[in-house]
Symmetry: C2
Subunit: 332 residues, 2 copies
Amino acid sequence: MIRLAIDAMGGDHAPEVVIEGVKQALATYSDIEITLFGPQEELMSQFDDLTRLVIVDASEKITGEDDPVKTIRKKKDSSLVKAAYAVKDGHADALISAGNTGALLAAGLLIIGRLKGIERPGLMPLIPTINPSSPYFILMDAGANADAKAIYLYQHALLANQYAQSVLKIETPRISLLNNGAESGKGDKLRKEVYEQLEADQTLNFVGNIESKDLLTGNVDIVITDGFTGNAVLKSLEGTAKAIFKLLKEALVQSSLKTKVGAFLVKDRLKQLALEFDDSKQGGAVLLGVNNAVVKAHGSSDDQAIFNAIRQTREIVQSQAIEKMKNIFNKN
Amino acid sequence: MIRLAIDAMGGDHAPEVVIEGVKQALATYSDIEITLFGPQEELMSQFDDLTRLVIVDASEKITGEDDPVKTIRKKKDSSLVKAAYAVKDGHADALISAGNTGALLAAGLLIIGRLKGIERPGLMPLIPTINPSSPYFILMDAGANADAKAIYLYQHALLANQYAQSVLKIETPRISLLNNGAESGKGDKLRKEVYEQLEADQTLNFVGNIESKDLLTGNVDIVITDGFTGNAVLKSLEGTAKAIFKLLKEALVQSSLKTKVGAFLVKDRLKQLALEFDDSKQGGAVLLGVNNAVVKAHGSSDDQAIFNAIRQTREIVQSQAIEKMKNIFNKN
């Protein structure tokens, strides 16, 4: 059995969408057991069937405004902190939350704990591309660490590489370094140092630098960067896509009759296109470098996104990716 | 008279588009004089009228592959280096090139020279937004310096602020710091230091942090960041916009008959939309912090983009923005 600890109270539409996602996942996968953390009575009333489901009472809730580290220490009875302790204490294999990202990172780092040998865990989302034969790529680190050192980025490459092999079943993942030019020798001191380390490691398929203009082409499987730049680039991708789709909608509605008729005819295809760009399809962002699978679903998750995060977390546990990561760093 | 030194051989479509852009600009503005640098005979044959136009022979050409600093020192007879010396020696007021960005930055820094008191010049493009009442914003630094210090970013804010006031006629430009969260206290060490400096300077209208997902909303006039992140975010904006327009085109062409008919009807509006997102409309990127106006037109510039860069450079010289910048830093 794969045992998942889920924060019922994280995210913009909690607990409703979490409850729905959990129901769908329990119905789909007979090899998962879920422990749900939140107000027990309220949650209980939403489930007719408690097969492979335990509901543990948590009286507090961490909000988006709470300071990550402080709240983890203070709100001991929150759904997130109790779920994290369940994983730490061995009652569950993995943790899922759609709530405060910083608080989840802090719970992963301070409660569940770093993998032995890892300097800093990193946050790893899967980003959609426009390439059907390589429909997403791994971005690592997307924001767990604002201040970076070369060793963090190098270790992140090892972690992401193992994830891509074990979970995504990519035999030799193409690893690239996000940089301000494609040629070798580009970038700041940090980039130059990381480039050398990635190039020297024969266990990695390092394919060189990538510029952010080429991210969506799907030419690489893994993009390594520091958390500050990763965060900026990720939000810039999301913001630009959103802005263009908004502009498009306005442009087609406010135009001539001819354009309006055309807009009506292409509407379905545009909606489908926007969906293809939905980055919750692949699940959530994974905090890699801690002792268990920790998955952050989007704050705006609907039930389908929660389901996808559960599906993904199940795959991570099943693949034993974390155990394999432990082995890499124990050898070193 | 406003005297412009223009590199005829820079950019993907040089010298044809440069020649066309120069002709249009000379016809439009009677207060400009242009010195064009490149193979004299070839260029001469393209102009019937040499009023307010001088063509200076340059036998060498800097390519996109040349190492910026080395090539500036080596190719003394290149169109770019000769144009830069014309500015340095007082024969022209400003420099324009659509060629190798790094080489132009090096020419600005090493030949034309830093403004007294400036640590590092920065590269400042104008980026289109989706907000009609605030249709573009300044990004500074977009990539002149990979390794950053707080003092660079603070000085860049002063330079960009003066540019926005003098050239763009924005009375009190809204200045923001690109960061990984909107709240104060966010970011890495660099961001925290710069935030304090910007907040403490009462001559600046500092409105706080901005996340890259909000860049295209047009809520601020100036976005301050380090050159590495600026380059990554800029290329990510460009790459995402390009990718989505490509995807859109494919989606509409490969679909059902209904969608195809619709696509035909909305085609013109989509083209117009893509044009609105054309970042050469406002001109080129300006290297701020050197002794003269230095403008980098897009490598893929057409004649209209070259014309826009000339129009913009004329406005910079006319506004005496550089003189005003000199005064700020001489006082300090």
